[in-house]
Symmetry: C3
Subunit: 303 residues, 3 copies
Amino acid sequence: MAALPSLARIARSGVLPLCHWPAVRGRASWQLHSLLLTPCRAFSNNKILVELDESKGVATMKFRSPPVNSLSLDFLTEFCISLEKLENDRACRGVILTSDVPKIFSSGLDITEMCGKSTEHYAEFWRAVQEMWLRLYSSNMVTVAAVNGSSPAGGCLMALSCDYRIMVENPKFSIGLNEAQLGIVAPFWFKDTFVNVVGHRVAELSLQLGSLHPAPEAHRLGLVDELVPGEKLQEKAAAVMAQWLALPDHARQLTKSMMRKAVLDRLVAHREEDIKNFITFISKESIQKSLRMYMEMLKKKKG
Amino acid sequence: MAALPSLARIARSGVLPLCHWPAVRGRASWQLHSLLLTPCRAFSNNKILVELDESKGVATMKFRSPPVNSLSLDFLTEFCISLEKLENDRACRGVILTSDVPKIFSSGLDITEMCGKSTEHYAEFWRAVQEMWLRLYSSNMVTVAAVNGSSPAGGCLMALSCDYRIMVENPKFSIGLNEAQLGIVAPFWFKDTFVNVVGHRVAELSLQLGSLHPAPEAHRLGLVDELVPGEKLQEKAAAVMAQWLALPDHARQLTKSMMRKAVLDRLVAHREEDIKNFITFISKESIQKSLRMYMEMLKKKKG
Amino acid sequence: MAALPSLARIARSGVLPLCHWPAVRGRASWQLHSLLLTPCRAFSNNKILVELDESKGVATMKFRSPPVNSLSLDFLTEFCISLEKLENDRACRGVILTSDVPKIFSSGLDITEMCGKSTEHYAEFWRAVQEMWLRLYSSNMVTVAAVNGSSPAGGCLMALSCDYRIMVENPKFSIGLNEAQLGIVAPFWFKDTFVNVVGHRVAELSLQLGSLHPAPEAHRLGLVDELVPGEKLQEKAAAVMAQWLALPDHARQLTKSMMRKAVLDRLVAHREEDIKNFITFISKESIQKSLRMYMEMLKKKKG
């Protein structure tokens, strides 16, 4: 429960709106596996392994929720708590997001959370998705995505929300906001984040077509900043992080906030409306039907 | 007159503001040349040939208003009626814009409509230009421009308003918003559309200089998406269209609307003001004089 | 004192807000060194040499405030007066900004103006920085930056505010908004100007890292439009200027205003607030300390 007071503190500070986070109380099986005073600490819960190298001030969050690191309510809850913990830890100035599951960074929002559930569940889930983005996109830490596998939809959003994106050069790995392929629409703040990275035209084309871009194409479009061989990824991420951490934090944080504030404010101002829109959309029988069909397809693929 | 009720229906739907369209009643020599129930239907009026391939759900609008497909009030009226007809035809999901006149896609706004006419005429003409853009830029159909010739000013705007632009690779064909070359200014919504395609810097440079970009340069700047040899243009346009139509319509339409709404809303909110500005500007003796000189030059060139 | 009535006239016109410009009266050692009626006139004051070629309608402003053309209150005051004089001179349609000091275009804001001074001084200085940008970014003249040396921070802003940037291809010369390196933050209107040139993503990355880009990289990023060998710079600047001046002024000016108005209006609307923010920020002991350290470092480097 250690995280709760600081969540409340953040809420009171007015930086982010008060987040109703009932999920935390009832759900979080969050536990400190180790809390050492030596330079390297690690803690984990069910779905994300967090390692903090205090000597460098850098944490690594490793997604390990097989088979595909899908963004379930549990995953998102743990992600927010872990991120907030690091945010409030003076020993941590930067965080690297990466995957512990082969070939996939994150498959995006967990479709089972959006299919055949109650209105209340949809609201809780969508608030958690918003919260993940609000916290990650506005993080005071340097955030680097080390994309070591495919990263569609919500997985792509996580990468886009970081300060820098490095991807394994394997052309079998792809990344993109492919919602339109599933017959659903990326929310406006997914779109805003995407436009801030690749510009309006590339975003329009890619979102309308629901494109998944193989790594080399993603690099050409500016969706990721660099490509490296898989075995060099962590080394490269550490080097990029060191370069960013060479700068004084305060000016960098204010600069980041200046660049991202307009887009963050827009969701904050329309958050409840956005949840309502999501519920209305996802509750439509036609959307439920196509999500069910998509899940059937995934099951057959596996089987 | 079949088009009128549906125009009214669209107006009532609130998607576009009520368009006062007196031109339709008095002017339209719109006729159905053939209306077959076989897969391929065609209809035409004076200036645009429309062919609908029902098996594919794709229409082609061929501009055939020699010598240069200039956007006269008649042309714009026919264009809006044809587009609206297709928009309301459930058999049609996509439209390809191309030219039936050699070497020119469209020369842009018809200068004779802007020279030595009454204030009422300027107002009617400008409303028709606005209407063309509002309908094309917000079309629910997939729109592909197959640019088989030069496309200055208003012709460029039509291409920019589509979802995808393919141009013949001939460097003698050029495209751009070259208004500044004529001593006039591209309206803000031309500019907004341009910025959405090529970004702020390229737009600023190109608009200030009134540049006409040869096809290879236009491609390099992102003003067109692809170049092909002339003989491959229609084939390529069909292939691109098929790729877009493989996606479910509804999500694609909502995505398109999300990307373009801010810019569309801006004209809708300032439409009457924009008409007044146009009338004030075009009525200036200095502007009339330079338009007359320009027309003289064009006549001599022909003669 | 000849400049004062026209400054007041501009203020009354409402194009720019009334500028309280006490500096002009007490400080300006502005003098006409020569005022000839032959095609080429020159005038200078302490820090900027202005040459006007009346036959071409082109002025050149040469910064000659050694050692590094830093933007002191005196420099900025002279710059604004010189620019305004040219703006009101019907014989002048374009201006080229360049440096008379080897290896440096301008080193940016003069740190001595921001260190250990009174609140009133900070306010006066910051208003002068704003005024420089408001006048240059909104200039009716064609403005070309001939960047013949390094150009960090405020020097980069001056280049970014021109219509076109040509830089000497020497990779030892660098340019960028490197404020974050000094622990300070580029103001929002520096950022807006930067985004208008290079787009949101490049700006975010460059501003967060406080990057100084060597000329070839600056060109690749679109921060400068062209690279030339040093000995070709003035020739190239003249050729670019001639190309721009071939266009009618009025349409070009309206187009430029249309592209830049939103960003200019934003500072005009928040000018006093921006001054207050600057004073609050710069008065912090932590900021003063890091500026003092930076100045010490510069002194040692010189010594």
